[in-house]
Amino acid sequence: MSPGFTQTDFLSIMPEMLIFGMGLVVLLFDLFGQGRSTRNLAYLTLLTLGAAGYLDVMLLGQFLPGFGGSVIADDFSIAFELVFLVVCALTVLISIRYLEDRGLNHGEYYALLLFATGGMMVMASGRDLLMIFIGLEILSISSYILCGFLQQDRRSNESALKYFLLGAFATGFLLYGIMLIYGATGSIALQDIRAALADPATFQNPYIWMGLGMLLVGWSFKIALVPFHMWTPDVYEGAPTAVTAFLSTGPKAACFAALVRILFEALAATRAEWQQVFWVLAALTMTVGNVLALHQDNIKRMLAYSSISHAGYILVALVAGGEEALAGVIFYALAYTLMNTGAFAVLILSSAGDRERVNFSDYAGFGYLEPALGAAMFVFMLSLAGIPLTAGFAGKFQIFKAVVGQGYIWLAVIGVLNSVVSIYYYLRISVVMYMQPATGDSISTRPPGSVPLYVAIVGSLAGVLYLGIFPGGWLEMSLHSVSRIITGG
């Protein structure tokens, strides 16, 4: 291997490099601009994300392995990277006001968001286990810090500690899995592992199975599948609301990207087995997530459990495999991002100023006090519940259709039943909003600083409806981008 690198090498990781580089720039600016408003840094971050998105779009349709095949820019990674950029952009938009309300003028926040996003992008484009691991760690460590960002708040501390300890614990399992896979195949590159598994002798090797098991445990924790999910509600509840929005969408999508790559590119030969494991996990995850969400009084916590069950829906697609289903994963990742972040944006906006509103009872009569916000929340809830003409429905439809197409009727039935159950708790907030007399008051002050929040809400709303009514474009792109993953080319 020659130390000289070609243009392709650099092209393949250009968006990631841009994100990381600009993260450092944001840090520098923050250093020299002490005490001044960080709003400009937020806008700089948005600009960066836009530029990275532009680069990604430019790279569409390419197939650029770089650095000895350890990273790749293909349509799969780009599709996911676009999702991450949307996640990050929405998070930045909803964070500005949130941080200012709490007097946290720290530009590091945006730098960390950028680093976390870069980590996710590395995970999506990494093509060996080391790159994926490093991306995951950048993401995880940034997330731990973001969870604990409200340094004075015990809940935030506690959230960070729980996330950190359990996250590191799960990382141990993940690493052990990588180690065993390496031991069995002598390589950490996904393509080489695939080649090694083509040999039936390797296929019998218990290292492979144990390694697969360890990997599944590690990823299941990161994606919060039952029974590895228990940290989720605590961490999500305690973290700053804007960070919760980020955590419940971005990292999960990134882990699914990495998981799909690992399972379909490297470990495709073991599919029959992990399919069975995931079948059980998916059924458990959907059911437990939904049942527990039913009993929550705190909306953040309810959304945490709901995010567990949504991970279950996506997992169903992994069980099915196949182009259709994997396209469903990408489609759902974006759909879930939009509807979930939108809901969080409404939470943050209505909590702006004097009082925090995170309990159901805080939203009594909200639909009449704030018709526009109430309607937006209603649409987000409908989408999460999977009512037609919203992104949530299109995503679920795509997934369940693929699952049925592959013959997993019972899994589909469990999924449908769950999505029926989920209506109850998503509906609960609309019941409170529209059918209980107002006890609270409308958002008393509307400081000019809320504009980014409104942009986030309107943007997610438009996205949810657009994906619901015209799912064709994004679906087309998703389908296109997974074709090569399936064939392993």
Binding site: K162, L165, L166, F169, A170, F173, W209, M210, L212, G213, M214, L216, V217, S220, F221, P227, F228, M230, W231, E273, Q276, V277, V291, L292, H295, E323, E324, A327, L382, I387, P388, L389, A394, F397, Q398, F400, K401, V404, G405, I409, A412, V413, V416, L417, V420, I423, Y424, L427, V431, Y434, M435, Q436, P437, I469, F470, P471, G472, L475, E476, L479
Partner: protein
């Protein structure tokens, strides 16, 4: 003027957008014009589409709006189809919808501006979804409409959200409907799996080839579809939501819970007739459930005092009738009754609304009486409606459609004399309780309290005009389906039968031959008895209230049972809702989450700490327990994979 079908649902949607977004700026006058206006236009277009459809080859026109989903083998265009079934439906939906919109202008006129535009926005939105449901060419589009109407129904039942009962009723409706939706979704998935398409036309056409007649699969699919239909059309066991749905404003009850939405289940069954005829078991279930619901709801209706509740149970009962018809393979008769029922039931609801409006939202018939002289138009039109539903022979719409159903349940190859008997008894009960309402409300002595009596007045023209139009339709609407035995003599053919010639799939069986005299005999028998019941109810409840009370006393246990609706709501509460609630709460929440997962509670206090072994678990630390979960899960996965 060629690609205009999409406008039919789009116009109400436009109305929704205008009323919802712009209206607050322009005030009530704007809403009064836009709300009904868009529906009127939509009605005009529907007529045009209907006429065009009649001329078109195959009596069906399809127009593609755009492609919604296109992915690997599944191509879901947004396409609208007007054929003989949906053509009739859109006429009913937009026509009756238009009249009810006009009526609402008067009925809701007293509400404040804010509530007013909200009401029309919801109502327009409802029509949009209903039209989507009817016009859609595939299951998917139908499902969009199906969910949409459920949503609007929910919003409109809970319209008076400050009333607790309204909010509860709304929730109940939504929840019960979801149970039905589950069946519908699973059926759709199964159909897609077996047919690879969700287009109605294709599924119906290929059904005999793909699914074995009478096989388990087709029975499962149709039963699941029927489960969906029972949810939407309020049949046993999912009927409980409809009577409670009367908490909504009366025009809503008329439009959604009598004329249109509740017939969506029937539409689904009729639309999928090709599948249903392949499953004799399902057909039998449909017929029996329909007959049972018809009978059961009618008995409850006899003992209710709330005028709207009587009408609600009557609706459930009539819907049961229609399902009975479909169950014996008489799809046409069912759809015929859907149409006539839409006319007279909307009329009855609007009439009751007019009364309620005049009585300042009093709905208890025990506090009415003798209203005919105060509000003649309302009174006479209501009586016409009652005559129609009671089936007064030869000149009301209800007679023809009801008689068709009864005859088919007797004579059709899938029919049975027992079904006929249940249907006939139900018809008699219907005649009885409808005239009970007429007598209690419009005749006899006035039991209205003084204050209200001073303000009694006939409703404004916006309300009486729709009443009059519907009254006319309740009479002439049936003439398109005059049975052969009657029409033959005077040289009138059965226009409806001709219209639906060859549209519905037929139950594969030998057609039993029945004498025309049998039909005439049965017809005459039920008609005479029905007339008798009407007269009896009229006499009993307008002149001899005292005797009615005595009768009631004599039958008090039965009366109580009926008044309390067989305690079905209580039964549901105890058998279904409470157990589910407590299982989930006690078992899953307490056991799994409090004890195992989240076993530590310092807040419980020191006292509890030393109580018993089970609570010792409470001392455990959270993170560790979470880690335990991970370790256990890990070990199990390893065990599965490696060993």
């Amino acid at each position: 003027m060629n690609e205009y079908l999409w406008l039919i649902p789009a116009l109400p949607l436009l109305g929704f957008v205008l009323n919802g977004l712009v209206a607050p700026r322009f005030g009530k006058g704007f809403v009064k014009v836009v709300g009904p206006g868009v529906v009127g236009l939509s009605f005009a277009l529907s007529i045009a589409a209907f006429c065009e459809m009649l001329q078109a080859p195959g009596q069906s026109i399809t127009q593609h709006a755009f492609t919604w989903l296109e992915s690997g083998g599944l191509y879901v265009p947004i396409a609208f189809v007007v054929d003989r079934l949906s053509g009739l439906y859109i006429l009913i939906v937009t026509g009756v919808g238009f009249l009810i919109h006009i009526y609402s202008v008067g009925y809701m006129g007293d509400d404040d501006e804010y509530a007013f535009w909200r009401f029309f926005a919801y109502l327009n939105l409802f029509l949009f979804f209903m039209l989507l449901l009817v016009l859609g060419s595939s299951f998917l589009l139908l499902f969009v409409g199906w969910e949409g109407v459920g949503l609007c129904s929910y919003l409109l039942i809970g319209y008076y959200f400050d009333k607790d009962s309204a909010a509860t009723a709304a929730k109940k409706a939504f929840v019960v409907n979801r149970i039905g939706d589950f069946g519908f979704i699973v059926a759709t998935l199964l159909i897609f799996m077996n047919f690879g398409t969700l287009e109605f036309a294709e599924v119906n056409a290929r059904a005999p080839g793909v699914l074995a007649a009478g096989g388990g699969l087709v029975t499962a699919i149709t039963l699941l579809l029927f489960l969906g239909a029972t949810g939407k059309s309020a049949q046993i066991p999912l009927y409980v939501w409809l009577p409670d749905a009367m908490e909504g404003p009366t025009p809503v009850s008329a439009l959604i819970h009598a004329a249109t939405m509740v017939t969506a289940g029937l539409y689904l069954v009729a639309r999928m007739s090709g599948l249903f005829v392949l499953a004799p078991t399902t057909m039998a279930v449909v017929a029996i459930i329909g007959a049972a619901t018809a009978f059961f709801a009618a008995t409850i209706g006899m003992a209710q005092y709330d005028i709207k509740r009587v009408l609600a149970y009557s609706t459930v009962s009539q819907l049961g009738y229609m399902f009975m018809a479909m169950g014996v393979g008489a799809f046409m008769a069912g759809i015929f009754h859907v149409m006539t029922h839409a006319f007279f039931k909307a009329l009855l609801f609007l009439g009751s609304g007019s009364v309620i409006h005049a009585m300042h939202h009093e709905q208890d018939m025990r506090r009415m009486g003798g209203l005919l002289k105060h509000m003649p138009i309302t009174g006479y039109t209501y009586i016409i409606g009652a005559l129609a539903i009671g089936g007064v022979p030869l000149f009301t719409a209800g007679f023809f459609s009801k008689d068709e159903i009864l005859w088919q349940s007797f004579a059709s190859p899938a029919g049975h004399p027992l079904l006929w008997a249940v249907g006939a008894v139900t018809a008699l009960m219907t005649a009885f309780y409808m005239f009970r309402t007429v007598a209690l409300t419009f005749f006899g002595e006035s039991r209205v309290d003084k204050h209200t009596a001073e303000h009694l007045h006939e409703s404004p023209w916006t309300m009486t005009l729709p009443l009059s139009v519907l009254a006319v339709l309740s009479i002439v609407g049936g003439w398109i389906g005059i049975p052969h035995v009657l029409g033959h003599g005077v040289g009138i053919g059965n226009a409806l039968e001709h219209y639906f010639e060859g549209f519905f799939a037929k139950v594969p069986a030998e057609v039993a031959h029945h004498e025309a005299s049998t039909e005439l005999l049965l017809m005459g028998l039920t008609s005479v008895l029905a007339l008798g019941c009407m007269y009896g109810a009229y006499v009993l409840f307008s002149r001899n209230l005292a005797r009615a009370e005595a009768l009631k006393k004599a039958l008090s246990p039965l009366q109580k049972l009926l008044e309390k609706k067989y305690f079905i709501d209580e039964l549901y509460e105890w058998v279904v809702i409470k157990p589910v609630y407590y299982t989930s709460k006690l078992l899953l929440w307490r056991l799994v989450d409090v004890r195992i997962i989240d076993g530590m509670v310092n807040g419980v206090g020191n006292g509890v700490r030393h109580v018993g072994g089970a609570l010792r678990i409470i001392h455990n630390g959270v993170i560790e327990n979470y880690a335990v979960g991970i370790a256990v899960g890990a070990a199990l996965i390893f065990y599965f994979l490696v060993y």
